[in-house]
């Protein structure tokens, strides 16, 4: 039981930290949230720099141009990126963390040739077409149809929660290829180009006011059969293989950021006045912030525990669901505390008098999605109780 990073991990950290110290300021400030072209350029530009420096595809196998970093090196990478406030993965998210790994594992040589390199170099942006209005928690209930017509599939359906659809070149799309099979059995995984005839993108603003999600409507969209990744009707398995790539590191960046948020919260509490003194003078508030900070620290320890386990066994730890469940609810509690400390200043979503209203309110609002997306808290509890604790399934 050893929390000390190895010499080689520390060497990697040093080298990365030095590179980030120059590269991050040189990359400039991110463009306005509504400037989609600018955002694509900014995010993919950073991806290209990572690539040139040898930090792209941190968890991808070397043979595909990735770094194939150990899980501890990945943690170091996330720590240092967060500390240096490096640009987020942004529009590269689906390609680097999901579509790319899926193609590496399941794609044909032609498919790999077409996508892997471009994704890694920031030349090809992907989006995700999984959820549907009627298929959220119950993803396998998806209804978007792909009917074979010669060497094409004809697509009809309606996808939702597609992020970065506006700027994506390709979409990983789950479709139903066998409507008669049991629901998990008739699904296929396609990697299709965007901008095809019959495809309509409609923005879906969230309660934060942001517009990075869209709905995608497909009406008789024709795609060549060679978009199929893996076998036809084997899409459910294909979807799940990529999950192993992350092996518990999914929230690493976020947690490092939140260690920083706790310090910022303390700093704000020292500045705002309550009852004639700095809010931070109040023991109760300090205790509350300290308790939350301890939970962030503990969940970060849990990530390390999980990662060490995955490093040993090569499979993701069962605790990953627990990390997700705990951390997302913790973020909401932290958001509430941040709102309360700012008090009436939160009526503004722009910084006033130097108080971080913009980021605190945004985090509090954004955290609402965390217990819903990627498996709601309720679904996580089902998974933990049934798959880990072995409790009987409910009668259906």
């Amino acid at each position: 039981m050893d929390l000390r990073y190895s010499d080689s991990d520390e060497a990697f950290r040093k080298e990365l930290r030095e590179w980030l110290a120059e590269a991050v300021p040189a990359h400039g400030s991110p463009p306005d949230a509504a400037d989609w072209a600018g955002r694509r350029a900014y995010d993919t530009g950073w991806q290209r720099k990572l690539y040139d420096a040898g930090y792209a595809g941190i968890n991808w196998p070397k043979e595909y141009g990735g770094r194939d970093a150990s899980l501890t090196e990945q943690l170091v990478y996330y720590e240092e990126s967060a500390r240096a406030r490096a640009p987020y993965i942004g529009v590269n998210f689906v390609g680097i963390l999901h579509g790319g790994p899926t193609l590496i594992s399941e794609g044909t040589d032609v498919q790999k040739e077409r996508h892997i390199g471009p994704i890694l170099r920031g030349e090809q942006v992907w989006c995700q077409g999984f959820s549907e209005p009627g298929a959220g928690s119950d993803l396998a209930a998806l209804k978007t149809r792909a009917e074979r017509d010669g060497d094409h599939y004809v697509l009809n359906g309606h996808k939702i929660w597609t992020s970065f659809a506006q700027v994506a070149d390709y979409c990983e799309l789950l479709v139903r290829t066998d409507p008669d099979a049991r629901k998990h059995r008739g699904i296929s995984w396609l990697g299709i180009p965007m901008g095809l005839e019959g495809m309509e993108i409609r923005p879906l603003p969230t309660l934060t006011g942001e517009g990075e999600f869209s709905e995608v409507f497909l009406e008789n969209v024709r795609v060549p059969v060679d978009c199929l990744v893996g076998a036809e009707n084997d899409g459910w398995r294909v979807t799940n293989v990529t999950l192993a790539f992350e092996r518990g590191t999914a929230f690493a960046t976020d947690m490092v950021v939140f260690q920083e948020v706790m310090r910022e919260l303390a700093a704000v509490a020292k500045r705002v006045t309550r009852n004639g003194a700095a809010a931070w003078e109040d023991r109760s508030l300090r205790a509350e912030v300290g308790h939350l900070a301890a939970e962030v620290e503990a969940v970060w320890a849990m990530v390390k525990y999980t990662v060490s386990e995955a490093d040993r066994t090569g499979v993701p730890s069962v605790s990953a669901s627990g990390v997700k469940l705990y951390f997302t609810e913790l973020k909401q509690r932290i958001g509430e505390t941040c709102m309360r400390v700012l008090g009436r200043a939160t009526l503004s979503r722009e910084d006033v008098d130097g108080l971080p209203c913009q980021s605190f309110v945004y985090e509090a609002l954004q955290s609402l999605s965390m217990t819903i997306a990627a498996g709601s808290s309720q679904i996580q509890r089902n998974i933990i109780s049934e798959r880990i604790l072995g409790l009987p399934r409910e009668p259906r």
Partner: protein, 326 residues
């Protein structure tokens, strides 16, 4: 003791509900998002007696009490009626034209506040601004304020200005009245939050009955059922506390007014906050969209939690009474 709505109160409640359903529906509210204020609607609310409700009939009011007022504000909270409702109601009879709606009165509560940035709500829409200070109630001409509008307020229906300099204004009532207005304001804000707690519970319940996943309405899963049951209980608790605050304001011999009002603010605040959060969660992804009005409720709750005393202040108020008698 008859701690239920009287027939008149029932009729009043239904009248306001009917008005709100027809005039401030979710769709109509969405259209108001840009402007956050509708002068015509304001006039109609005035005509219905929302502002002059507790003003004696001799002064052109409706002559009702606080118990009636909380029932009306419960309904206004339910539909998220926009504008400085509480302030205009509180100042009816003290500021000319407030009761009739001709003068839209906004307010700023500086009692018990630290040195927070001064954010004034609805500044662009009000004709008079009232400021509660330790020394008394002051009336300030909105035009005399130096302030910059905040482009993205937390609540789309509660625009705010960041004010750099606030003139003292004209003293229109003494310190005791300032304190009393604040207590009444807390009771009415609680009533608005009660409405939010109820509406979010009902929206979530309806959604859970209709939305199917895994071939079942999600409302048939215990995990969802129990969230909704807790929402219901919080709403019932909040209603009892808010009505008790109203009844106690009308008849201070039945209990401690401050304690009843602080209890209402705490309990209704918690109900509104937790219910609107739960409402997002039960709606799943749809609850996270801008299009579904769920988020409006949470945002309004945050606004209401920050007027007329926050959680800690009211909890300390109750503790003080407990401690005195201890």
């Amino acid at each position: 003791m008859d701690f239920q709505l009287s027939e008149d109160q029932q009729a009043l409640k239904e009248g306001v509900r009917t008005f709100c359903d027809g005039r401030i529906s979710a769709d109509q509210l969405r259209e108001l998002e840009k402007e956050a204020f509708d002068r015509d609607l304001w006039g109609e609310l005035a005509e219905m007696g929302v502002f002059g409700l507790r003003l004696p009939e001799s002064e052109g009011g409706v002559g009702l009490g606080s118990a009636d007022a909380v029932v009306v504000f419960e309904e206004l909270g339910r539909c998220l009626a926009p504008g400085p409702l509480v302030w205009s109601h509180l100042l009816a009879g003290r500021v000319e034209g407030a009761a009739s709606g001709e003068c839209v009165v906004g307010g700023l509560d500086l009692l018990g506040r630290g040195e927070d940035p001064v954010l004034v709500e609805h500044l662009a829409h009000i004709d008079a601004l009232v400021v509660l200070r330790e020394e008394g109630v002051y009336k300030v001409a909105p035009g005399s304020l130096e302030g910059a509008p905040i482009e993205t307020p937390l609540d789309p229906f509660t625009p705010v200005h960041h004010v750099a300099s606030l003139p003292e204004g004209e003293c229109i009532a003494d310190a005791a009245e300032a304190a009393q207005l604040r207590v009444e304001g807390a009771a009415l804000a609680s009533a608005l939050m009660l409405g939010i707690a109820e509406q979010t519970q009902e929206m979530a319940t309806e959604y859970a009955k209709g939305r199917e996943q895994f071939n079942r309405p999600i409302g048939s899963f215990q995990a969802i059922k129990h969230i909704l049951a807790d929402m219901f209980v919080r709403q019932e608790l909040a209603r009892a506390a808010v009505y008790a605050a109203g009844a106690t304001l009308d008849d201070p011999e039945v209990g401690s007014v401050r304690r009843a009002v602080s209890t209402a603010k705490l309990v209704a605040g918690e109900a509104a906050m937790k219910n609107s959060r739960s409402c997002v969660q039960v709606h799943g992804g749809m609850g996270y969209t801008w299009e579904m009005p769920v988020h409006y409720y949470l945002k309004r709750t945050w606004v209401l939690e920050n007027v007329f005393g926050g959680v800690e202040e009211h909890a300390l108020q109750v503790a003080e009474e407990i401690g005195e008698r201890g």
